[in-house]
Symmetry: C2
């Protein structure tokens, strides 16, 4: 494309304005490798600085805004997204190569608007404030907005985790915080289109114009500076461990709460009695789950664990065949594919054996062959760090332990995970073993599953999309599930002997 | 004292054992400067290592322990402390120079046992688990113990914040976590005596012997290693900002949640109409509060703010006289006094003027003259960082702003605080001004007070003994107030499609 295109604008202080850019980037269609004919800015610090000052003003204005208006905004935003669904889905499809239907149109967009509406309900009900009144001591407490929230969205969900529309966004807004969204450059136009919808909804609801702001890209130094700026309240981040840990270091040093969802291998245990009956069925379920959407989900199963035996060998044969037969789809970018390949090479160097896959697929689109690795429990224990390198994509590694004791040792050596799953015999024949393994797995994971793959993450008040480090940076919080996820963006405030007419409404009496 | 004394033992794995010590220290009586004839060990890493391994075992055993037993332990511990009250109070009095009565015997010890009993009630009720059941989606969630908790107690509360008996201890235990207490060397024997009581209570309740462990002192390197050890779940710390930030860096880098209560100036605003009526009364209240216990409270008022005018000058005169007339008591140690003096010198170098005090008091005991400093709002704004240096002790600095606008600017420049207080006219004559100032102060503090000094910290479910950085490291948590404080030592756990008989009792149905 040689047409001269205007660089997209950034949304700061309620206006789409020219970025003070230090460069530009041109997104491409990962299914074809062709440029999409659009240009987006790499913002200088001055863009952040303006957004931060506007966010502070908005935060103060939001303190005086009735929750009803926030709810109206979130609902109006959901409606605006639905009204523009066709264009948004098309944009995301072009930018990510994810299927327009069912994935984007029928699953992710409805999930996103549902999440916004759940956040609206939570804003209206105000249960997140958890008011406590101790009349005898004249003390009252509640949770309050924490201040401007910076949200970094990931590459793999253009809607549901997008900094300008996803779970962190909805949770931060529900508690009355303005959001500065750092869109992911891999779906810049999708984000622009959504931010435009947000802008219209802000007008409908009459919220401060700087309640929602958005920039597209920052260099690392400015990213670190943004999360440690005195003007912010907290940060939400979903993405890679490498990028996440850099931001965490900056935020920690500045004393800013940062919530990161970084990495997870989502181990799935297949217990021996159940495997005897279900080797084929479970192998196919696993193959489907770890290759779905090219495995580009935080909760795809990346590790399968079993105890050596005939049933396990049968399972491994079925699994090898099933994985080999799954057609790879285009990944989100050439970088995503390159990183997957590097990880698979590194896992082999650390001691895993390649059973199928392990290479780029030629032709259009950044496709990678669905991959299965295998390692013994003994060899895993020799290199437990290297063999827990995340391979983000359509890959799974089977760890076959010699016996129960070795399997327990493997579990003890697992890092913190978002999820952990146990498949076992319906008859109860594995139950005694489950009783010995599950407590160890339970301590390592945010969500424990039985008999189903972990990839789906329901937006439910009982969801935990979180887990011990390094899955996240704090095991007490979830990034999915309303109202629980809202707690991340709140500060505890007490009122001691404060005169009645000076108290917030919900703390009177 | 030249009597050969045995070095005290450390409590590890349920036994009082010889420390693998790299040195010893001999506590003194700060009221006399004389050694107390006791010797305590500076532990090597091997002491920590043993304690950590024992704590992991205890944590696993506690997972299977009925909450009733934990409650029984906490109540039995409270009883044991009461039974040994005379000796414990005497020990603390000798080690800290704090008055045996009313402070230690009639205030702090009852507060401590009350806190243990409130924690017992919370353990029994289990509300801290906050169970959520989503039957439609087959999802359940609750909070669970986070794992072994390391608690660093401060110098200023030998009972109520002691690592082996205070608020962090009670909260961590209530959630089913074992505690490794790092006693404060300034009340080592008091801590030993309390840990002995805890040991007896563990036997009464039949809890794992390593549920409570204690060491006395560590070098900085081992302290940092302890808070970043993979075997721990979280850390609670109360103490200086310098020590706290070092531990925070280590824990953050290892991905371990650390809760710190570090520093606070606790600003108190005196509004002009009220000052006209109350200059003398308020000056005396402030003088009493900031000199109480030699000002060695996290919540002592260290900053007084007012707008220039005749009433403020009258207030300043009263305050100068009142502060000058308060007899200083012995401080906790020579170091505490030295640091207070250094801070007062530094505040003067940064622009404050000394009105009274500012020097060591000769004679027995580490006493420091009660001190009042003054600075204009304009000069404060020129050196807002240097003038917010904490002076831990019987000192207060008055900031006199030229007008409301300057006072607002001063408030905007305040760091995060545990508390912020506004005194105003009972008539309502200051209410319009309150309405403009309070929102700014509210954002800076964990607890907002009206018309009373902030020094008292009630153990109430509505208390917030926390606040924005650097008062603490996360504004969403409190270290005082049950059950709220328990949340710090818990992890969120979901159960997805888990078979009913495998669920915790309280998540069935």
């Amino acid at each position: 494309m040689q047409t001269a295109v205007a660089t997209a604008k950034v949304l700061i202080g309620g206006e789409w304005r020219e970025s003070d850019a230090e460069g530009v980037f041109e997104p491409e269609n990962p299914a074809t490798g062709e440029k999409l004919g659009r240009e987006f800015p790499l913002s200088r610090w001055s863009d952040c600085d303006r957004a931060l000052s506007a966010a502070v003003e908005a935060a103060h204005a939001l303190e005086k805004t009735p929750p009803e208006k926030i709810a109206v905004f979130l609902e109006a935003y959901a409606k605006e997204l639905e009204a523009d669904a066709e264009a948004i889905v098309q944009a995301a499809h072009e930018e990510t190569a994810l299927p327009a239907s069912p994935r984007l149109k029928d699953v992710e967009l409805p999930r996103t608007t549902d999440q916004l509406r759940q956040a609206a309900a939570a804003a209206r009900q105000g249960t997140w404030r958890r008011p406590v009144i101790d009349q005898a001591k004249g003390l009252r407490s509640c949770y309050a907005p924490i201040g401007p929230v910076v949200v970094f969205g990931p590459n793999n969900f253009p809607f549901a985790f997008n900094g300008v529309s996803g779970g962190d966004f909805a949770a931060a807004i529900a508690a009355g915080n303005p959001v500065i969204a750092k869109a992911h450059p891999l779906h810049a136009y999708t984000s622009q289109r959504m931010a435009e919808a947000a802008g219209r909804a802000l007008k409908t609801a009459g919220l401060p114009a700087a309640t929602v702001q958005m920039i597209y890209k920052l260099n690392h130094e400015n990213g670190a500076r943004l999360v440690s700026d005195p003007r912010i309240g907290a940060v939400g981040f979903t993405g890679s461990k490498g990028a996440g840990l850099k931001l965490k270091h900056a935020a920690d040093t500045a004393g800013k709460p940062i919530y990161l969802e970084m990495s997870s291998l989502n181990p799935v245990l297949f217990l021996p009695e159940g495997l005897k009956e279900n080797a084929q069925k479970w192998a196919r379920e696993l193959a489907d789950s770890c290759t779905l959407g090219s495995g580009q989900f935080c909760t795809r199963p990346n590790l399968a664990l079993a105890i050596a035996g005939d049933a396990t060998e049968a399972f491994m044969q079925e699994l090898t065949a099933a994985i080999a037969s799954r057609e790879p789809h285009a990944m989100l970018s050439s970088t995503t594919r390159d990183q997957l390949h590097e990880s698979i090479e590194a896992l082999q160097q650390a001691g895993a054996t390649l059973l199928t896959g392990g290479k780029n697929v030629p032709g259009k689109g950044y496709r990678y062959s669905s991959t299965l690795l295998r390692v013994s429990g003994k060899n895993f224990l020799k290199a437990a760090d290297g063999l827990q390198r995340e391979a983000f994509g359509n890959e799974v590694m089977a760890i076959v332990a010699a016996d129960e004791a070795e399997l327990l040792q493997v579990l003890e050596h697992l890092e913190g995970q978002l999820t952990g799953t146990v498949y076992s015999a319906a008859s109860g024949a594995d139950d005694a073993l489950y009783g010995r393994l599950a407590p160890v797995l339970r301590r390592k994971v945010g969500r424990l599953l039985n008999d189903k793959m972990p990839t789906g993450v329901a937006v439910s008040p009982a969801m935990n999309h979180g887990g011990p480090y390094p899955a996240t940076a704090h095991p007490g919080f979830t990034s999915v599930g309303i109202p629980t996820s809202i707690a991340r963006f709140t500060a505890l405030q007490s009122y001691d002997n404060v005169r009645p007419d000076r108290l917030p409404d919900f703390l009177r009496g």
